[in-house]
Amino acid sequence: MASINLSNIRKQYGSVTIIDDVSIAIEDREFVVLVGPSGCGKSTLLRMIAGLESISAGTIAIDGEVVNDIGPQRRDLAMVFQTYALYPHMTTAQNIGFPLKLRGASQDEIGRSVAEVANTLHLDALLDRQPRALSGGQRQRVAMGRAMVREPRAFLFDEPLSNLDAKLRHHMRIELRQLHKSLGATSIYVTHDQIEAMTMADRIVVMNRGKVEQVGTPLELFDKPANVFVAGFLGSPTINLGNATLGAGDGSATLEFHAGSGPIDLANVPPSAHKEVVAGVRPQHLEVVSPEGAKLTGTVDLVEHTGCETNVILSVGSEKWTVQSRARQHLTQGENVGLVFDPTNLHLFAADTKERIRW
């Protein structure tokens, strides 16, 4: 197993910069998820680690050894592709055994290792089938098996679950996580799905436009997003954001939403000079109350019942906000309601830099 160090990685195609000065230190046995919207460079970064893309500047080191000029064959990493990339002309057993065969292992050895892996992944009954005779979930497992069989220094996953249906995806998420627990292998996992990122990662790297926005554990990122982008990217439904003015009150700060009707006392925030901010409250932290005397109000557009939860979609000024609650809400469209929240759950970002304001 191995640690992987990326320092000042850059990738350019002509004058277009795909990856811009990315540095990440991945520890041995860590499960790191690279997450971001499509086109953010996360897959390119993974492929650079794999050795499938050249590096324009910076260094990639595996266990302290710089591998920039080492081809994918000799990096001793394993990768699970989004398309699984199973060799269509080989059976399950041949697919899983292929890396060992390339390393000149004996038939016996290959047979034993394949059987072992197949047993772990419940593929025993499918060893003689070709990929086209397998279901999506089974193919996914074979791809995993091919990665596991030779105990590589690290696993790379390129959106491995995105071709599965929702139910299977959930199931495979748990299985992959358990597999990681038992193998303890360094893993780098690329996804655009924030739920996968939140549920699987030891640490998440949020990327946007070729840059790293924030690195941290899932809860760190959720509780203390470094900027508006991270706040907006993680969490479902999306965080509610509104422009507001931060002011000084009696021993603490006050917050007045541009769309609101008066300052709200923030007991936990020290008083500050007059400042333009973006304020964010997650839908789970908002509560619908009577509009009378409320400092923040909205008009109900739609009420969604998912069974357990109720999502109320409202217009707050020109913004669309969502309130999620476990209580069934009986609201009608067009109704005016007040909104309240616990100030400890408030996120504040500078209006100009979009960076988190800490206190």
Binding site: A50, G51, L52, G71, P72, Q73, R74, R75, L77, A78, M79, F81, T83, A85, Y87, P88, H89, F98, P99, L102, R103, R146, R150
Partner: protein, 275 residues
């Protein structure tokens, strides 16, 4: 309209053309099974008097047509092997690698594919004459390869492009070198495409007339189509029964092979041609 009715209409509409297509085959078959006196007579019929196979025997054992078939076979196999040997790496590079001036290269190949060798036949003949290769099967093998290769590259390219790049990348990560991944993963997957291209090249080479006619000037080196045409021009009384037997021998096996790949040509080739 039921499918049965529709089928009847379709066949009826096609029948005039099908009749014209099949007429020469009927002629070949009927004539090659006849004896000489059945042809040069006034009371001719479609059906031969008996199933007479003597023409084939005479052709192969007395007229030396076997030699022509062997020449054709040698040239076609040679040209197929040579054109695929140069076309496969080129098509691989064009589909999988960054090639400088790729656009110019593909356009060049496309244009050469359209230049008929007959337009340059004088120059071709002089070039092979300079190297002393006239009357050598090698000259025709080289010439066929040069003119059929562009099409092979182009056909292979469209097959290669259907093989996901992921598979090779997976093989590299699994530890295969570039060449090993090509041989163990890429080649087996595009084998069908290579076979179709090979058959197409073979048939083209087998059927080619003008270059073989010009570059091989001795009877002993003639290919089957050249010798057949030659037989119609040299004898006092054209021995049609033998010639029809020869065309049958030289065309039916090739037609069968060709028919086996026709479904790959429709779609694949036409779409590739437009895109």
């Amino acid at each position: 309209m039921t499918k049965a009715k529709k089928s009847l209409v379709c066949w009826a509409l096609l029948s005039p053309f099908l009749l014209v297509v099949l007429f020469p085959y009927a002629t070949m078959l009927s004539t090659s099974l006849k004896q000489k006196d059945e042809i040069f007579t006034f009371n001719r019929t479609w059906l031969p008097r008996e199933l007479y196979l003597g023409n084939f025997a005479e052709l192969l054992f007395e007229k030396g047509f076997g030699r022509a078939l062997a020449n054709s076979l040698a040239i076609s196999i040679g040209a197929t092997v040579l054109s695929l040997a140069v076309a496969i790496p080129a098509a691989y590079a064009l589909t999988r690698m960054r090639v400088p001036a790729k656009g110019a290269l593909t356009n060049y190949l496309l244009i050469t594919q359209m230049i008929s060798p007959i337009v340059l036949i004088v120059g071709l003949f002089r070039m092979f004459a300079y190297f002393g290769l006239v009357n050598s099967l090698l000259s025709v093998i080289i010439a066929h390869s040069a003119f059929f290769m562009a099409f092979a590259v182009w056909m292979l390219q469209s097959y290669f492009a259907t093989i996901p790049k992921d598979l090779e990348e997976a093989a590299w990560i699994d530890g295969a070198g570039r060449f090993s991944a090509f041989v163990r993963v890429f080649l087996p997957l595009c084998l069908p495409g290579i076979v179709v291209t090979a058959i197409f090249t073979f048939v083209n080479s087998w059927n080619e007339y003008a270059m073989s006619l010009t570059l091989l000037r001795q009877v002993s080196q003639q290919t089957a189509p050249v010798q057949i045409a030659f037989l119609t021009g040299t004898l006092y009384q054209i021995e049609w029964h033998l010639i029809m037997a020869a065309t049958l021998l030289a065309s039916v096996p090739v037609a069968i092979v060709f028919a086996s790949i026709q479904r790959y040509l429709i779609g694949g080739m036409a779409l590739g041609g437009v895109k």
